[in-house]
């Protein structure tokens, strides 16, 4: 069993990274978005394997299923599907090289911190049989205020999005039926 587990773990991990790399290098925004969706799926699998079942589900439902859909909506709305022909979406090679170097440095730093800071994981704590119970407990008792505040935040986000994306006519009046 552990072998199966480990193999899948690594499999999904590699898929996630490969998808991410693919995502970063696509010219077309639609393709990029879809590759990101793939990354998220893999991450969801990883979450499940890490005994965070609820989070895994949420990841698929919310992140991959809602947020990325919104991205795609916007891409479609702005008609950016092909990626503009006049400009290549990827910068000159010098910038890419520098960015790559920065990325490598970043990874190196993070890994160094990993090795220095974190103890090797000891015997795993017994996972809760039902992952959702633990999360629900924590969410609705200790973090209740934060939970309620996020609802306010979402409301603000909705209002903000509507206001910001509103089409304003030259004379300043709103057109009725402005879409988001």
């Amino acid at each position: 069993m552990p072998l199966f587990y480990t193999f899948n773990f690594y499999l999904f991990g590699i898929i996630a990274i490969a998808s991410a790399l693919a995502f970063v290098t696509r010219k077309s925004p639609v393709a990029a978005a879809l590759w990101l969706v793939n990354t998220m799926f893999s991450l969801a699998a990883l979450y499940v394997m890490l005994d965070a079942h609820f989070i895994g589900v949420i990841q698929v439902l919310v992140y991959a299923g809602a947020i990325m859909v919104v991205f795609l909506f916007v891409v479609m709305l702005l008609n950016l599907g092909q990626g503009s022909a006049t400009t290549t979406d990827i910068r000159a090679w010098r910038g890419r090289l520098a960015a790559g170097a920065v990325g490598v440095v970043l990874v190196a730093q993070l890994l160094t911190m990993l090795r220095v800071r974190l103890p090797e994981p000891g015997p795993d704590a017994a996972p809760p049989v039902n992952a959702i119970t633990g999360v629900a407990d924590s969410l609705f008792t200790e973090n209740l205020v934060a939970f309620e505040l996020t609802s306010v935040l979402l409301l603000a986000a909705i209002v903000g999005a509507v206001v910001l994306a509103r089409r304003t006519a030259p004379d300043g009046a709103d057109e009725p039926g402005a879409d988001a």
Binding site: V102, V105, L106, Q109, L110, T112, M113, V116
Partner: protein, 772 residues
Amino acid sequence: MLLLQAAAEAVHPLAGTAADWIWLVVALPLAGALVNGVLAMITEWHPGPFDPDPIHTGEHPVVSEPTLVERAERATPRFMTVIEGHAPYPPAPPEGEGHGDGHGDHAEEADHARDEEAHAVRRHPFLPLVSIVGTGSVAAAFVVAVMAFLAMLAAQPERPYVARYFEWMAAGSLKVEYAIHLDQLSMVMTLVITGVGTLIHLFSTSYMRDDGAYARYFAYLNLFVFFMLLLVLGASYPLMFVGWEGVGLCSFLLIGFWFTDKANADAGKKAFIVNRIGDFGFLVAMFLIYWNFRAFDFGPVSEAARALPPGTAVATAIALFLFLGCTGKSAQIPLYVWLPDAMAGPTPVSALIHAATMVTAGVYLVARSGAIFAAAPAASLTVVVVGALTATVAALIGLKQWDIKKVLAYSTVSQLGYMFVAVGAGAYVAGIFHLVTHAFFKALLFLGAGAVIHSVHHAFHVTGRDDDAQDMRNMGGLRRAMPLTCYAMWAATLAISGIFPFAGFFSKDEILGATFAQSRGSALAEATWLGIPGTAILLGAYVLLLASALLTAIYMTRMMLYTFHGDNRTGERQRPHLHEAPWPMLVPLLVLGALSVVGGWLNVPPLLGFLGPVGVLEHWLEPVVAAPAQALAAGRAALSHGAEYALVGAAVLVAAAGIAIAYVRLRPARLRPKAESPAEPPGIERALANKLYVDEFYDGAIVRPTLYASKNALYTGLDVGIIDRIFVVGLGWQLPRLFAYVGSRLQSGVVGSYAWVLVIGVVLVLGVFTLR
């Protein structure tokens, strides 16, 4: 500890007597200076940035801001009348009356009166108040000093009376207080300063009467007296240094009193700057004193110096640096060059500062530091050498000067050389004695010269002639016009020449005798100076002093001949205006004249014991100077009576010979007024007349290179080149521009670069954590 100190002080015989009021002696002139200073501010100060008449002559056509008193007067027209009881200014001179255009057929008296009226001067407001405060404060100080002196006479204290008042500096083991050190030596100096000072203040009330800056003058003069008293009464070297610097400051202020004339301002600057060089020496000596003796008060320092074996490097260094200070303040070689230029100031200033008091500060310093000099025979011999050389060189230069004040200035330098030879040779009493008698006759000479100059200047002024009132070639035959002045100055001349029984005879003879005696086997004679044995030095000094005595007699007689005898060269028109000085000028002359006659009785030598009490001053100063004098004189062979008589005879002979030579060789009749006089014949005469070109040498060797180095190396190179370039331009202009450039390039508005900045920042922060 305090109690112990109080108990020890209470045991001093002077505590509880009039000597307790000694602080008044210092405070009274200061109070006078402050009052006069305030009066000067309100009557002479024209506020505002541009004052075309800063020395308040009142003659400038352009009106600057009115002084505070003038403003009060304009606001309330009878202000000054109420304050002073009468209208302050004389009526305007009558219009249309010219002068100097040939009134040959008018009576001389009418001429005279018209000239006087035409030049009636605005009198200074508050003149009586300033005169009373100025002279009175010093006179009151003199009275208190006399009372303290009487207390000392009665108590005969063996040790000094130190009255401590406030604390000045306390840092670790260093402790300096405002304290007064009253012993026999300071008492002598105090009496001289306040006594002669009072006379000179009195003289000034008449001499400076017509000056617009009358109150400022008295403020400065009182301030000077305060600082001088602080110098002689201060209980520690730093406090003495305060007085030392202060008299230098007041000397600068008073020399450059009429500073609108650049020559006067330059003379003041020269005096102060040259003094500063000496002050550097004094400061270094003070540092050395503290470093080695850990004390600043005179008592502990003298004790520590006495404990040293003679001839240590420490004592020699301290003594030499102290002497550097003395060469500056007391105008010895090489720093005497300021004193002849200082004659640019008012004549009473020359009398007080550059004859009687400030220049004697160096002699006082050496006497006060006797223990240090006694512990350093090489330094004492240095003092002797410098003193002797100065005496001779200055006398030579004085021989060919035409300005009456310059003759007296070089005479002062020469006589100071005498005093330094005395204190250098360990004859401290002789040096102080000569200091006192010199104060009498030199002040008299200067005041007399002042009266003469005042008269001649007045004659020139009312007749509208612009000529040098101080040049002897413009004088002559003044005996008839100013008889009392003439006789008083003859008394001084005989005194300075050393004719029996005038004061100078006794003091000069004592110096000569002491120098000669010291050369025969004393501890000082045993020492060497740069390899030359002390005996030779002292004998050489004796010979030089004798030669200077001859020269002194010659040039002083020359001065008297040219000024008072022969025919008058001032001019036909001016002659009626030459008259005797008014009483405030005459009284000091007569008093000092009397002192010049009888002053010698202060210290009659045993040889002439039939004249009166022997060695009064020597007994008086014994507790202070006897120990160092003895240290230097130890082991010397006694002089036989014959030798002593020979010495006295030699001195008198030399003086008489000088006077005779002057009478015989000099022809006042051959002189022409200055405007018509020929240039000096080339050679030694011209060199002496041009002061042996010392000033030119200093200018070329020291002043110009310093200015050049300052301008080119320090200013152009260091200041502009390096400091300006790095700090002002670099840090102040280029660096902000660099930052601005970087900052403005960062804020490009391109969001992508902002993202870069963000990520780089994260990397850097993580880097910190990683590296830690």
